[in-house]
Structure formats: C-alpha cells, structure tokens
Amino acid sequence: MTLGGTGPPATPEPSPERGSRILGGRGVLISTASTVLFFAAIAVFIALAPGSGLVAERFFSPFHLWHSLVGTQSEPSVLSAFLLNVYIFAISEVLILVLALVIAVVRQIPGPAFFPLRMVAVAYTDLFRGVPLILVLYMIGFGVPGLGLTFFSYFSDVTYGIIALVLVYSAYVAEVYRAGIESIHESQNAAARSLGLSRWQSMRFVVLPQAIRRVIPPLLNDFIGLQKDTALVSVLGSIEAARAAQIYGASQFNYASYVVAALLFVLITIPLARFTDRLIARDKRRREAGTLA
C-alpha cells in the first residue's frame, strides 16, 4: 500500500476551530451545564420508568458485567473471545485492501483484449455486493468442507469466515477505490503519459496515490462495518465475542454479557470513527483552500 509515501502538503492551519468562538469562557460553562443536565434528566427518566429495576438487573448488573467480561468456570470470557474478532478483522482488512485494489485496477484496464478481465471484475463486484454476507458465510463455511476437497475442505471455521468476509467486503472496497480512481482528473494521467510514463506507471505513481488518499475516509467507514460483521463468523461455530456473550446470557439468564460485547465493539469503532471524521475535516479544509483542480 502506498498510504504513507510522500506526505501530503502541510496545510497552513490558521482557521480557528469552528466551535471555539462559541466555546470560549462562558461557552464552556454553558455547554458543561447543559451536558450535565441533559444526562441527569435521562438518568432520572430511566430510573423512574416502569420496570427499570429489572432492566438494571438484567442488563447492567455489575456482577454479571464483570463475570461475563472475564469468564467463569463454565462460560467463556467475552473479552478473550473478542480478541478473535480483532484477529479476524486485522487479517481480513489487509487481504481486502489488496484484493479490492486489484479488482479496481483490473476494471480500469482499457483495450478490447482485456474485456474478459474487466467483465470478471464487474461480475465479481455485482455478485458479492448483492449476496447477503450470511449466505456467503454458509456457502463457504459449510459448503466447501462438504465438498471433501483435499486441501480446501480442511480449513478452520475462522479461516472460512475470513474468506467470506474478504470476498464480500472486497467488492465494496473495490467500488470505493474505483470512485477514487475516477475522481482523479484525466489531465493528471495525460501529464504522466506525456512524460513518457507507461499506463501502468501513471496508475502507480500518479493516479493511485492520489485516489487512495481521497478514499481513506470512506474506506475507514467500510472497516467500521467490517469490524462489526466479524461477529457473523460465529454462525460457523467460532466463539467470538457475540457468541461468547450469548453462551453466558443463555446459562445465566442475564443480558449483561451482551452489553459487555456491545461496549467492546463500540470501544474499538469509536477511535476509527473519530479518525475518519478528522480525515474528512482535513479534506474539506484542503478543498476549501482551493488547491489544483
């Protein structure tokens, strides 16, 4: 990946943060007070609502929150199971970034000789964006082992899960890349070709680095989705966080384990989301600064 490489120009940062005018001095006081009031009101409302005692016990019991997090003699730890989600996410993400890029680039190869290749790329994205992930999981995870192939039928559930995630998400991410590639003005390619660079060199050195930089925010967005969808791998039998939570909940008749699992997912997606926001804001500033067309 060429995500690093030549860094983007350091944009001058004179513009005061949008909110700072409001948040100066008195503003901070007001926003703090209104935040406290707002959440206090919600807390009171919840506490007074009918059945709130039951909700607190079933969902937020400190005992169950803690024991589902770390596990018991008979129930798995949601936290250690969550490491499997992180593992699946990390491996899938790398494979998706590569496979999707290949698909997107193949789709851009001009010339009649490459028509079949382009067609395969188009068919691939159409197919895998249309089929629900869970069906792909079933087909790969149950179907392929059932074929009794010498090599491919003996992967672990997690591996089949990763394969299914990669197949489906690559279709989405390929489209994101493609949008990025098409957003780079043809004059950039013309300038590169005019210097004697081949089509491929122009793609590699001029078009792709700019395109990828442009699509980082939507890519991160897709990865937030991917992070959540790692939970679906549990349908193949892997005990990841959601499945571990379910096991705990079913044997203890308590849902605190689900809250724990949910919090773990949120905990890991929030930094991704904030990072995405920052990149989008940076892009916006840069566009407003009026750089080259």
Partner: protein, 252 residues
C-alpha cells in the same frame, strides 16, 4: 534514422474528429531543428488538439507525424518512447499535487529513463537553480504561485531532455503579473536553440520569439510566415480580421 538534415517535426494531412466535430481538417506543417513556431488562432480553432496529436496523447484519425525522420504514427511504434523525446507543457500546469517539486521533476527521469536517484536529483536541482526555483524544491505544488508552478512544469518537461517542446498557452491561466517570468523562461530556451511549437495568445511574445507564425482557423492553417509579415501585412482576410480583434482587445 536520425540524420542531421531531417526536420525536427513533420505533420502531413493530420486529421482529428471528436464525434461529428472535425477539429483538425488536414494539417501540414514542418518544423526545422532549432526553429520556434507559434500557433495563433481563436479559441476552439484546434491548437491544443494539434499539440496533443503531436505526442500521440490524442490518437489521429488520419495523417502522419514524423519526428526527427521517424514516423511515430507508424504501426508498432512505442508511443512511450516517442513521448520521452517530446516535452509538453499544458495551460493548467498539471503538476502532481501529491509530490514535492523535486519529485515531480525526478519521477520520469527515474522511472522512464532509469536514472539513479542522485543523478536525477542533481539534474533537477541544476535546472531549478537555473530558473530561480531551487529554494522551492521541497514544496508541494499548491504552495507555489501560478508562475512558479508553470516554471516547475517546464523544468519537469526539460528534465527528460526533450528534442522538441510543445507549449500550450502556458501563460493563459496566470495572473498578468506572473506572465513575464514564464515568458522569460521560454525566451531563454529559444535562445539555447530548443525546437518549439508554441500555441499562444500572447501576440507580442509570438512576434518576438517566433521564427514562423501559423494562423489556425477551424482546423486549418490558413496562413503562415515570418512574424514581421503575419503581424504587419497578413494576406488572408481572416487573419487580418483575427488580428484586428486582438488589437482591439489590446493584446498586441
């Protein structure tokens, strides 16, 4: 194939259409080594298209392009090789915004000519030095003025050591006060004997620098000749009309 006597560039019956719109209707033009030819003509007359056809960025519909005795429109010619010897500079600069000035300039020498990094950078720096840009080498294009960007674009083309330079209205996108710095670079190149084909709206500049001026209208060269004659006593009534409009607009 290259002989001392072959012209730098020969165009024969070059035609080009975009759909129904025939933009070049048979262009014949010969440029001698070290000659500077200026293309003038109204907007839309086909100047840019002609220049883009010369380096095959735009494929021709008919006709031949011969560069230093070798027909580049022949079958089986590798257009990438041809483009290495022809530098082109566009109106909109088209620098690579994600690369520093230095990297913009060294990219093609390194990737296309296979120059080592040190050599490519040394060459780039000496070119930048010559055009008063060496302090900008680590800047990104969007931190430069239009005039500086255009000079970098010229340097980038020169770094491939072209035998022929094509300039497409390189000052049209510039604020008036930045035009002079770019024109002086082109004058310097002309002084060194660079062969150039220049599309321009700067008639005063064309008169100074050109060995020959071609007036293009609706995809044809209607009149050509030395600038003294074209600008003072054009024969074709349409050339006369075009120039009087230019004079009325205060651009000559």
């Amino acid at each position: 194939m290259k002989t001392e006597t072959s012209p730098a560039l020969v165009l024969e019956g070059v035609r080009k259409s975009f759909g129904e719109n025939e933009v070049l209707k048979g262009i014949d033009l010969t440029v001698a080594p070290h000659e500077v030819v200026c293309l003038i003509g109204a907007s839309g007359s086909g100047k840019s298209t002609l220049l883009r056809c010369v380096n095959l960025i735009e494929p021709l519909d008919a006709g031949r392009v011969v560069v230093e005795g070798a027909e580049i429109t022949a079958r089986g010619v590798n257009a990438n090789h041809i483009r290495q010897r022809i530098g082109i500079v566009y109106q909109a600069f088209n620098l690579f915004p994600h690369m520093t000035v230095l990297r913009n300039i060294t990219l093609a020498p390194r990737e296309v000519l296979g120059m080592g990094r040190a050599d490519a950078e040394e060459q780039a720096l000496s070119l930048l030095e010559r055009f008063g840009l060496s302090d900008r080498r680590n800047e990104y294009p969007d931190r430069l003025s239009g005039g500086q960007q255009q000079r970098v674009a010229i340097v980038r083309a020169l770094a491939m050591r072209p035998h022929l330079m094509l300039l497409d209205e390189v000052t049209s996108a510039l604020d008036p006060e930045l035009v002079a710095e770019v024109l002086s670079v082109i004058r310097e190149l002309a002084g060194e004997g660079m062969t150039m084909l220049i599309a321009t709206h700067e008639m005063g500049f064309a008169r100074d620098i050109a060995d020959r001026v071609c007036f293009l209208e609706e995809g044809r060269i209607l009149e050509e000749g030395p600038p003294e004659r074209i600008f003072t006593s054009p024969e074709n009534p349409r050339t006369r009309r075009f120039l009087s409009r230019i004079i009325a607009a205060g651009r000559l």
